[in-house]
């Protein structure tokens, strides 16, 4: 860890994007998430780390209300996006998810062409007027996802025919095609090899210029490499949340220290 860069990161002035206050999640009888308070900053990469089953993915799924689709899940507490309560009955989760995009653990392109995979979001949200504009969105999204050069000659090929790393970048392109404000990534590199992982991490760093990125990861090295803020979850509680450099070099909580030094988890 380069100390110079850690200091550099503090200089950037950022505002809060998502505020979570007292978030509790129950899956049936199981109390999966206990009283989580987090402020996720705009134009920042926030990493959620913690052992398996600690609730980090659950919390991530609260942020775009994907837990609504799980019949047994019950979410309490207040989560705001730009000051608006995302659980407000007037808010359509469909619109929320257009603003808060998500990339999943396993690459899950639609069984359609590469072009249609990326164009799907803009199409259903009516973001493009005409084919030319749609093609432009597809191109910029694929460029941002660092996939354009590899697929520009075969946009009509099925997205499922790409390699694992390419598929994941395609999913990222698909997620950013709707110009979200927040991008949630649930262990986006767990199914990728180190080269593809490096590409995705580079991409995450570039995306920070426009989006607020929240990434769940099992790899502490990855969290240290890509994030500015890190939250450590353990047994459903948020144990510690702070600057990435501080979490990894000088954790305040003994549990955080135990986890990052490999004694728990």
């Amino acid at each position: 860890m380069n100390d110079m860069r850690l200091v550099e990161r503090d200089v950037e002035q950022v505002t809060g994007k998502i505020e979570a206050r007292g978030v509790q999640v129950h899956y049936g009888e199981k109390h999966a998430l206990k009283d989580v308070d987090v402020t996720i900053l705009d134009r920042t990469v926030t990493a959620f780390i913690g052992p398996s089953g600690c609730g980090k993915s659950t919390f991530l799924r609260c942020l775009n209300r994907m837990n609504d689709t799980v019949a047994s899940a019950r979410v309490e507490g207040r989560i705001t996006l730009d000051g608006q309560d995302i659980h407000d009955p007037r808010i359509d989760p469909v619109q929320l998810r257009a603003k808060v995009g998500m990339v999943f653990q396993k690459p899950n392109p639609f069984p359609k062409s590469i072009h249609d995979n990326v164009a799907y979001g803009p199409r259903i949200h009516g973001l493009a007027r005409g084919k030319a504009e749609l093609d432009a969105i597809v191109e910029t999204s694929l460029r941002k996802a660092a996939l354009w050069d590899e697929v520009k000659d075969r946009l009509d090929a099925p997205g499922t025919g790409l390699s694992g790393g390419q598929q994941q970048r395609l999913c990222i392109a698909r997620a950013i095609a709707t110009s979200p404000e927040v991008l949630l990534m649930d262990e986006p590199c767990s199914a990728l090899d180190p080269i593809a992982t490096a590409q995705v991490e580079e991409l995450i760093d570039e995306l920070r210029a426009q989006f607020s990125v929240v990434i769940v990861t099992h790899s502490m090295q990855q969290a240290a490499r890509v994030s500015q803020k890190t939250a450590f979850f353990h047994l459903g509680s948020l144990v510690e949340y702070g600057e990435t450099g501080q979490i990894f070099t000088n954790p305040r909580d003994p549990r955080t220290e135990a986890y990052i030094t490999g004694r728990i988890g």
Partner: protein
């Protein structure tokens, strides 16, 4: 394995790998036995299937060929058109009896012309070798084209079922001696007619296109009405069940809350699939015919009853297909902000389509073979009139269906009908094979990997 080696560590150690241990040999023997059972089971099923198909084909194939007698007939105006008007309305008053006389005269004249010895067979017995059906056909032909009156035309008439049976080996001289419908002398004459080229076995289009015929003329019985009835029913069943079945499945699988009511509905759908078909027949009789007053024996009522039976099958197959769509695809679409409807119609349904189609076609195929409920709503009736075209309300006309036709022919006394019954089974099986092949092709065509 560790506990075994722990018990006798020395025994396993010293042994050569080349000599199999008793344990390994026993395991191999078990494996071999298991495989043998499987192969035996498959062999038995294949043998049964082969035996069944062979029996049906051997019994039924002759139904597609029919003994026909060809000879010239002079259509005498004195018999068919006494008034001489050539007006079909006036000529219609002459019944088939008149035409039968024409045929009889023509046949006897042809025998004399060719010098074929009658060997003392009476005129009546000679005429009896020609199917009663021939007179009706000749009458239809002349009424359709009055210009034929006065001319000599070539007539190809069905031979009676017994002569037909003789040509196919079903009737022998021994059986003819005991049969009041045919004499050995007639069979001898049949041999001479064959030699003269007047009598021959031809491919029998009438079997596929003609209507059913009475017990007295099995040679004229055809599957036309049954095929049309089955076709009408299949189309109607598809129209009734596919939208309802798919809509119900989508609702239950994607939208319905999981509670006691939906659990109850689910259990009942599975139960409905197991209800004996005859019960649906009673239900159809009570509701569609007695209560709603729809016409008996019509393909519409048949289709409604069969729809009720097929729906659970289609719903179960469709739900399984929808459930088989990976949840990651749903998540992906939801994550981009697709609404529930968009997720279902843009992603889930296209991916489930091959499964839905396969299930639907297989459901329809089993419906095609359904007999019991149709018996109860009167589709077993003796129907000789073709139903009207689909646009002219033909679905309300009396019709019968292929499996019902099989049943009804199988229960008639004349052995010629048994042959036709097997022939009808072949036709039914061909339809089923076509539908199954269609299901396989559709699945291949629409199958995509993800």
């Amino acid at each position: 394995m560790s506990d075994v080696t722990a018990g006798a560590p020395g025994a396993a150690r010293g042994q050569s790998l080349l000599a199999g241990s008793a344990r390994t040999r026993a395991r191999r023997a078990r494996e071999w036995r298991m495989k043998a059972y499987g192969i035996a089971a498959i062999a038995i099923s294949l043998a049964t299937l082969f035996f069944m198909l062979a029996t049906i084909v051997i019994d039924g194939a002759p139904a597609f060929r029919q003994a026909t007698i060809s000879f010239p007939v002079t259509v005498e105006a004195a018999i068919v058109d006494k008034a001489g008007t050539r007006d079909p309305a006036a000529m219609g008053k002459v019944t088939t009896i008149g035409y039968k006389r024409l045929l009889s005269q023509g046949f006897i004249a042809a025998l004399e012309a060719r010098g074929i010895d009658r060997e003392g067979i009476t005129d009546k017995d000679l005429t009896a070798m020609i199917s009663d059906d021939a007179a009706a056909r000749l009458r239809d032909r002349v009424l359709a084209d009055p210009a034929l009156v006065g001319q000599t035309i070539e007539v190809t008439a069905y031979a009676t079922g017994r002569i037909d049976g003789y040509l196919k080996g079903r009737v022998t001289r021994e059986s003819a001696a005991r049969d009041s419908n045919v004499t050995p002398a007639q069979l001898d004459l049949a041999d001479r007619l064959m030699a003269a080229g007047m009598l021959s076995l031809r491919f029998n289009w009438g079997f596929l296109t003609g209507p059913d015929a009475s017990d007295l003329r099995p040679e004229a019985a055809g599957l036309g009405v049954a095929i049309i009835g089955s076709l009408y029913m299949m189309v109607l069943v598809a129209i009734f069940t596919v939208p309802v079945g798919v809509a119900a499945s989508i609702y239950l699988e994607e939208f319905a809350p999981k509670n006691r009511l939906t659990d109850l509905i689910e259990v009942n759908i599975s139960n409905l699939a197991a209800v004996p078909s005859i019960v649906f027949g009673i239900l159809g009789l009570a509701i569609f015919i007695n209560f709603m007053g729809l016409p008996q024996s019509s393909s519409l009522v048949g289709a409604l009853v069969i729809s009720l039976m097929t729906l659970p099958t289609i719903i179960i197959a469709t739900r399984a297909a929808i459930r088989a769509v990976p949840p990651s695809i749903r998540d992906a679409a939801m994550g981009i902000g697709a609404s529930k409807m968009q997720v279902v119609f843009h992603h889930v349904l296209p991916l489930a389509m091959p499964g839905i189609m396969t299930g639907t076609i297989l459901g329809l195929a089993s419906a095609l073979g359904e007999t019991a409920p149709l018996l109860l709503i009167g589709m077993v009736a003796f129907v000789t009139n073709f139903p009207a075209g689909p646009l002219e309300g033909g679905v309300m006309d009396p019709a019968t269906a292929l499996p019902v036709q099989v049943y009804s022919w199988a229960s008639r006394s004349d052995p010629a009908f048994i042959e036709r019954s097997s022939g009808a089974i072949i036709v039914l099986l061909v339809f089923l094979v076509i539908m199954n092949v269609a299901a396989i092709l559709l699945r291949r065509r629409f199958e995509r990997r993800w």
